[in-house]
């Protein structure tokens, strides 16, 4: 009896060794261990074995069953991994097929430049304020010390809606509107669209400006210099030099124009800087006491500075754009470069 079991065990071992695939393993498992399997039959007839032989017989049976099961499992695992390896070998995708996605869009270079500049001033504690683009002549000119019939009005070609209303020619009217409603200390920037009745290769009738101003006790011209230096260095790099020249704006006194060393040629002279090595970038000055007075501030108590810059101009220098007329065109091939 025991020998019979042992020979079944050996036979099963032989068959498992000869098995070629998972199907064979499955068949062998059924043949020996299935419900009607050879070993299962022997297990069922355990009751007919004499009481004294039963323990040894039972143990041998169990051992054989475990042996076969173990062998089957190991062989099965073997086949599975081989089969997986084979199927992996045949599965191959073309990784050069383009990815499936909606490409990100791009912010307009003017927005990107404006955002960068705005962030610099916000980090210095400036507030952002806005004003209307269609503005009263009063705020655009008169309150900025440019009365009617003042030749300084020729500095800006103005679009008129009627005698009292204009398209703002600069963001400076926001300065007056803010001062009218607030008391110092003030640290404000006012970004936005401005309009000039002028269009040629280097002018577009609508562009963007950023006005910045500060009013407090003891604000000095040296502070204006320091603040603009800090700003220029943040945008164009610490190596950029600045040049302050006297100039004239009716709403500042003293007034200055600020040049930076040409970012294209690094000051050696090129087309962009017309060979001078310098590029004009900012207009600035100490707020004219008359403007402070018109807003109800005491010019003996408060002083302030203001500056304004053209965003398209900064963007052109930053990205090396050589034609201002590209900005309003919105050609996809232009927009997607930034």
């Amino acid at each position: 009896m025991l020998n019979e079991i042992l020979s079944i065990k050996n036979l099963a071992g032989e068959e498992i060794k000869k098995a070629c695939n998972l199907k064979d393993i499955q068949d062998i498992r059924i043949k020996y261990l299935g419900k009607k399997g050879v070993l299962t039959g022997r297990m069922k007839s355990l009751g007919s074995i004499s009481k004294e032989d039963r323990p040894e017989y039972g143990r041998t049976l169990n051992e054989s069953k475990n042996f076969i099961e173990d062998l089957l499992n190991r062989q099965e695992e073997q086949f599975r991994s081989t089969e997986l390896n084979q199927s992996i070998q045949t599965q191959r995708i073309d990784v050069t097929v383009p990815g499936c996605f909606v490409p990100f869009g791009h912010l307009h270079p003017v927005t990107q430049t404006l955002d960068e500049i705005t962030a610099i001033f916000i980090s210095l504690g400036f507030n952002v304020e806005e004003g209307p683009e269609i503005e009263l002549d009063f705020y655009n000119f008169e309150a900025l010390n440019m009365p009617r019939d003042h030749p300084a009005r020729d500095m800006q070609d103005t679009f008129y809606i009627n005698d009292d209303v204009v398209l703002r020619t600069h963001t400076s009217p926001v300065q007056v509107r803010v001062m009218e409603k607030n008391i110092p200390p003030l640290r404000v920037i006012a970004p936005g669209k401005v309009y000039r009745c002028d269009a040629d290769v280097s002018h577009i009738p609508m562009f963007h400006q950023l006005e910045g101003f500060m009013v407090d006790k003891d604000i000095r011209m040296t502070d204006l210099k320091g603040m603009l230096e800090l700003f220029v260095h943040s945008v164009f790099g610490i190596d950029t030099s600045l040049r302050f020249r006297p100039s004239f704006f009716p709403f500042t006194e003293p007034s200055a124009e600020i040049d930076i060393s040409c970012v294209i040629c690094k000051g050696t002279g090129c087309n962009v800087c017309k060979g001078t090595g310098w590029i004009e970038i900012l207009g600035a000055g100490m707020i004219n006491p008359r403007v402070l007075e018109m807003s109800g501030y005491d010019p003996d108590l408060y002083t302030g500075f203001a500056f304004g810059l053209g965003i398209e101009r900064v963007a052109m220098l930053k990205y090396g754009i050589d034609d201002i007329r590209l900005f309003p065109e919105n050609d996809k091939r232009f927009l997607e470069q930034f």
């Binding site: 383009p98 679009f159 040296t222 302050f244 100039s247 091939r333 927009l335």
Partner: protein, 684 residues
């Protein structure tokens, strides 16, 4: 203003090469914009700011050079050796517009060509030589900044000058042979009978100096700047004279310029110079300004030496008297721009050199800088759009009102009531836009013409709508436009771009934290430029805030663009910003498992997914967690007039594990509801 290097040198004996001189002028506030080398001379093109009419002259520029370099300034030779005969008859009938009129006659002149040096000098300064007498008046204008005019004395009726308004005289022939229309306040120079010049702007043909002229009357005057400016604008004529008069000439210099010209004419064209007639009823009174040294230093931010201040101001022609801890300054008559102490401070720091003052950072009091909510919302919107594949366009705010027809905008629509610009650059840019749509459609057209296929563009800008007030309402809108190229991708992406754009908006709202929104489709189109069957209104918190839809085919045709074009519009970003929810509130994650069941129904084609979904969620139960559509099918075996909708419904209770039987009951309840309300059938 052009200025010759050699001419400047006649007044200041500087020893600087021209490039250094240009730099010196630029750094003193007179930007040398161009340098032109001509035969034996160098011509600077100098930008003179409107506050400095005194520097619209060689002497003015020379004075600046002398002050910066601390060198003496030479005088103009204006001494008339011999005066013969009385001065001319002059009468000022408009003393408010003519504050001084000085005149001499010169008799027996010989008009002819100017000497070569004079011709060369004028031409280098962009003035064409005509004849010696006129050339000399122009030469003195350049040299002193004082405009002069020479009349043919024999053509002046009564040999007399009257300064008066035009009154009823409404036309005048200027010497450039143009007929000029006048208004009643135009200041004219008359003789005894007729007008002979437009004061300060241009002389008349009827009294012009010609080859046959023998006797002249020379005019040097101070006309009211505002009057000259208005006249020049009104008749649309800008001359070297009007440019200087409207900025203000030197009241005191009027006489010396007259004498300088008279001398030169006598020297070059011969003739006898008469005595002067100088009508100057209200002579110039100098201003006195007090400046404290402390103030100079506190505005600039450094200590400037008192002797430097005094030296510089003296060099510029200011008279100075020390008084207490400051100075009393009397600016010269040609410096009308000096009105208060800061103007003097500017002069000091200008000549000290802006480049020499140091940089400091202001010592400030900390203040709270509140976030600009609209700006923040705009930023979020722009960033969400960029992440969804849209690029930002920025278009001109101008609009061609005729485009409203192309957009099918009805006549009574608010967007037709545009704000007009009085002086547009082009007829097509004569109004301010009331909608962002046309500009973006033009962007699409331009890009398609240049070979672009898929286009995703958006713009966030202001539109200008009528308000009934002086200023219009400026409303910030967002508009996105999607031109979908159906053949562009190898990936399965053949559905209508409408749904892409709808998805973009839903993502945008999710980013902004806007949850209460819906898409309302009415029987008629929500916007006239959208396809009535393929568009809807967008509501936020129940209020209409935008539109979404396919471009109306007739608008496509009008703009000459084709393809699958969808438009998303948000009418008022500030309003939407107010619906933005603040910080999100955390909800605990569910603790019990969910059960998911699918439900496929067949309904009539005109039943919308939204109706079906509402019918499902409308059942009285709190265990429906989510309903999601996963299939829409038309075609066999579904009957022609019907479609199949397949939903996956997720059930979950927050306080227990659901049993199969309770889900079964609810699920079949939902089916019954769909059968009853929508005549749906279970798809088998």
């Amino acid at each position: 203003m052009k200025a010759s290097y050699n001419w400047l040198k006649e007044f200041v004996d500087f020893n600087l090469p021209h490039r250094e001189l240009a730099h010196t002028l630029t750094m003193a506030g007179f930007e040398v914009e161009a340098i032109e080398e001509v035969e034996d001379d160098i011509i600077f093109d100098i930008g003179v700011t409107p506050n400095r009419p005194d520097c619209l002259s060689i002497i003015g520029i020379a004075r600046e050079i002398s002050a910066v370099l601390d060198l003496p300034l030479k005088d103009v030779n204006a001494e008339i050796r011999k005066q013969e005969g009385g001065g001319p008859l002059i009468e000022i009938k408009a003393p408010d517009l003519c504050l001084r009129y000085s005149s001499r006659t010169i008799t027996g002149v010989k008009p002819g060509p100017s000497p070569e040096w004079l011709v060369i000098r004028l031409e280098a300064h962009d003035i064409r030589s005509t004849s010696n007498i006129v050339d000399i008046t122009n030469y003195v204008l350049l040299e002193t900044g004082q405009p002069l005019h020479a009349f043919d004395l024999d053509r002046l009726a009564g040999n007399k000058i009257v300064v008066n308004r035009a009154g009823n005289e409404n036309e005048f022939h200027t010497l450039d042979n143009e007929k000029r229309t006048l208004n009643k306040d135009t200041l004219l120079i008359w003789d005894d009978e007729k007008p002979v010049a437009i004061a300060g702007v241009m002389g008349g043909l009827n009294s012009e100096v010609s080859e046959s002229t023998r006797n002249i009357l020379l005019e040097s005057a101070f006309f009211n700047p505002v009057s000259v400016r208005r006249t020049s604008k009104f008749i649309n004529l800008k001359t070297e004279s009007s440019y200087r008069f409207e900025r203000g000439v030197d009241m005191i210099g009027v006489k010396s310029a007259l004498d300088r010209a008279a001398c030169m004419i006598a020297d070059i064209a011969g003739g006898k110079v008469s005595h002067i007639t100088d009508i100057y009823p209200d002579p110039y009174t100098p201003r006195k300004l007090c400046v404290k040294y402390k103030k100079i230093n506190s505005v600039i931010g450094i200590d400037i030496d008192e002797s430097f201040v005094e030296n510089v101001l003296t060099g510029l022609g200011f008279k100075i008297k020390r008084e207490g801890d400051g100075i009393v300054v009397t600016p010269p008559s040609f410096r009308q721009d000096i009105q208060r102490d800061v103007d003097i401070i500017e002069e000091v720091v200008r000549l000290y050199g802006y480049d020499r003052i140091p940089s400091t950072l202001p010592a400030v009091q900390m203040i709270s800088a509140p976030v600009h909510k609209t700006q923040e919302a705009i930023k979020s919107i722009k960033n969400a759009m960029v992440k969804s594949g849209f690029s930002e366009a920025i278009n001109y705010s101008f609009l061609n009102p005729e485009i409203m027809d192309k957009l099918n905008i009805p006549p009574e629509d608010r967007r037709r009531k545009t704000v007009f610009i009085k002086n547009p650059l082009r007829k097509e840019e004569e109004a301010m836009r009331t909608t962002l749509i046309p500009a973006l459609l033009n962007n699409v057209s331009l890009n398609l013409n240049r070979g672009a296929k898929t286009l995703r563009l958006f713009e966030v800008s202001r539109v200008f709508l009528p308000s009934g007030q002086k200023l219009p309402d400026e409303v910030i809108q967002m508009c996105a436009i999607y031109h979908k190229d159906m053949s562009a991708s190898i990936w399965d992406d053949k559905h209508d771009g409408f749904y892409d754009l709808k998805g973009v908006l839903e993502n945008l709202f999710s980013e902004l934290g806007i949850r209460d929104y819906s898409f309302i489709q009415e029987a008629t189109s929500c916007e006239p430029y959208l396809h009535p069957g393929k568009s809807c209104a967008i509501t936020v918190n129940g209020e209409k805030t935008g539109s979404l839809g396919t471009l109306h085919p007739s608008v496509s045709t009008a703009f000459d663009i084709s393809g699958n074009i969808n438009i998303l519009e948000l009418y008022d970003i500030e309003k939407i910003q107010k619906a933005v929810s603040p910080t999100p509130e955390f909800v605990s994650l569910p603790r019990y498992p969910y059960v998911e069941r699918d439900l496929a129904i067949v309904v009539s084609k005109d039943i919308t997914v939204g109706q079906a979904k509402e019918t499902i969620t409308g059942i009285d139960s709190d265990i429906i967690e989510a309903v999601s559509l996963f299939d829409i099918y038309t075609g066999k075996p579904v009957p022609d007039n019907k479609k199949s909708l397949a939903f996956s419904i997720r059930y979950r209770a927050s306080d227990r594990t659901l049993t199969d039987s309770e889900v079964d009951v609810l699920h079949s309840g939902i089916l019954r509801r769909l059968e009853e309300n929508l005549k749906a059938e279970l798809r088998t």
